[in-house]
Amino acid sequence: MAKAEFSVVGSSPGRIGGVERVVGKGVYGIDVMLKDQLHGGILRSQYAHARIVSIDTSEARALRGVHAVVTAADTPDVRYGRSYMDRYILARTKVRYMGDPVAAVAAETPAIVKQALKKIKIVYEPLPVVIDPEEAMKAEAPTLHEDMPLPKNLPEGAKVKNVCGFAAVHVGDPEKAMAEADIIVEEAYETKMIHPQYLEPRMTAAQVEPNGRITVWANAQAPFPVRQEVAKTLGVPLNNVRVISAELGGGFGGKGSGITSGAAIEPICALLAMKANRAVMIVLDKAEETISTTIRAGAKMYIKTGVKKDGTILARTGKVIYDAGAYSGFGTQAGSRCTNMLGGWYLMPNCHIDGYVVYTNKQVCGPVRGPGGPQAAFAVESHMDSIAAQLGMDPAEFRMKNMPKPGDKIVGVAKLRDVSLGETIRIAKEKIGWGKVKLEKNQGIGIATGSWIESAGPGGGAVVKVNEDGSATVHIGKIDMGTIPGFGIPMIVAEELGIPVSDVTVLNVDTDASPWDAGTVGSRGILVSGTASRLAAIDAREQIFKMAASQLEASPDDLEIKDKQIRVKGTPAKSVALATIATNAHNVIGEVIGRGYCDNLKLMAEEKAHGSSQPFTTHACVVEVDPDTGNVKILKYVAVHDIGFPIHRAAVEGQIEGAAAMSIGQALCEQVVFDKNGRTMNPSFVDYLMPTINMMPRIETTLVPGYPGAGPYGAKGAGEIACVPPLACIANAIYNATGVRVRRLPLSPENVLRALKEAGR
């Protein structure tokens, strides 16, 4: 769609909510202040795996200033989880990672909370610990969940244990096809756990209202699932729980999976408030957060591909071992996604991949930004370069050779509609200077591609109220963490109602008032709430036109709104102010309230019929490797993306740059490190290395037009896909620079130097 058709969408106005954020008046979760608020704290397991013999809270209870102490004994025997219900909000008989919540305290001051937590006496019987998921699958490994069954869909005769999810890809006959291959390349890749490390600490505040209802303030990306799970785990009716979302200081999926994300901080805080009969607020310390909340899981990936001499891919087989952590969390879903993506997004006529999601004594896998995608792409896109090297073929040309066309299928997608992949490769080559840029000694150039889902998961609604002055108030179920509520949504509503963007207020989520939504996850903001808001604004406009039509003596079909005036098309003199109609509505329909819904079943049916118009991307970079220190410096980085129509261009670029940066961090330095007992060695920001400005290259973003998606105006989700290519992109450039392939993350000086040494360089 051409930009000129629109008055607002496609531009980059200042973010709604920008002013309060730059003057320090944005109210984030940790800024919430309740009257007579107590401080809460959580006692976490000091063992990665142990049986709880006894818990004695008497000394803590006796401490002056302590108002409540809670343990599993204060909770109903109800478990929670995503696909597997394998977890209690407070550990009952066993702890399974260092960070597992065991007890909690509410007290007058943070100092008393700390003191009281120390006075809770827990006797543990330590059990053997397993950190490596591949070890955890073996018969001799300790059993983490004695009462959880193995997945029903495991392959026949699979001798495994501690498995909480299994996914498989079966296409064609890979065994037969592999026999016809000229070249077979077989490799193993491994990624490590990273923590999303959003800056705002995880918090919850809770209070019991005079009528007995519980109000919970949470910096959660999914307030409705939090409501449902708080009600369920505390045994209170759903309608007695209200969850209010504050502004979020970052989430990246780490706050996205109901109460799983924060290891049940919300129900624990609510329980304390119920017991203390006072408001309670818990704010996690950053080190406590790193060891206890959800993470991007590490994965081991075995990949084998057979190709013909001309570069045609014939077959792939592989195996994924995906680390769920101590509980299934989002591991089953992320591991399944990783398994599918190991099949790649090129033509793949024959493929068999098994994916095991495995319990270990570590913190739990969450839906962190593109869950499963970056891991798979590290293997797939590094592997593509390894194959190209064996073929003596240019890596970009090898990818083009196996490029799907519209109508083709790829692993996990029955039919593609448009395929922008080749176009993104072409542009990325041009932008990076592929084959042209002069590389100095120790410098190398790399390329890697990626894709992501078009739609998955339930729909969601929007309500657009038009006020007496013609301004609009919008309710959606998605929270504001620098994503659509401040950028795309007000623009969409402004576009459809003919009002300025600054006249649109998008309310934060309050489960008592907002339309239900599964959460601000899965790159689904613009697809779900964008679609719903557009339809709600159109619904509101139709109500307005109906009322204005009689006043203007015209048909509603002949009307338009521009600059807050309703006009007869072609006769601009015949007009009435939007404010007048919105005010008159009080006597006609009460109020202009537009309602919209993103019908996910319809979207899926359409996708099935016309094929998936999922986003594609290519990243390319130039790096310099210091052969003495192993340090990798990125000299140039380009990110080329098809995200359909960009509703707020700067916001889309920002999502791409931020997501790429997060994976550049994972590529170069980030990882959560464990000792053999399951203790996190680098929980604080002092030790957990994240990219600062001086190690981050300027990410040069290019948006590729012409491939509309299923979202409003042809938009596609943009929040996650840029996490997919960077790991392999940088690894490929290192290979190009040194001739050494590093197959295990991070590409830190230590690991790169070791790889160089092992290769005799």
Partner: protein, 158 residues
Amino acid sequence: MSVTVNTTINGKKITGRAEAATSLLEFLRDSLEMKGTKLCCNTGECGACTVIFNGKPINSCVTLAADAEGAEITTIEGLADGASLHAVQQAFIDTGAVQCGYCTPGYIMSVKVLLDRTTKPTAEDIDEAVSGNICRCTGYAKIVDAIHLAADRLAGRA
């Protein structure tokens, strides 16, 4: 043991009580209820709590409130002139450098000190001035744009 702290915050003389171990960040956020300065790592690593202390950007989480005795402090709440935003604040909005906005107050304070010193910052100047401010949302691209835009506006080039 608590101590009395006499300090000047955003041009206003403040007298308050703080425990000897209370950080300046806690003093600002909890005692004075000035929530604009953000709590994050509490170990002086991320820069979210940056305030200007006698002209220099410091991490208020690892500064004692007691050390603020006699100091001149500027926080994010003291930067705008009434309804008129400081050039750095406006530039952060205009370039899309504010996503979640949680690092923004600290970032803006560090950038203000940089641009008070020079309105022609080099890449090295920027790296040095804000390498202690972590942003997890932007990949720093739009923040660099904001710094240059603010510099240009302050110097009358834009």
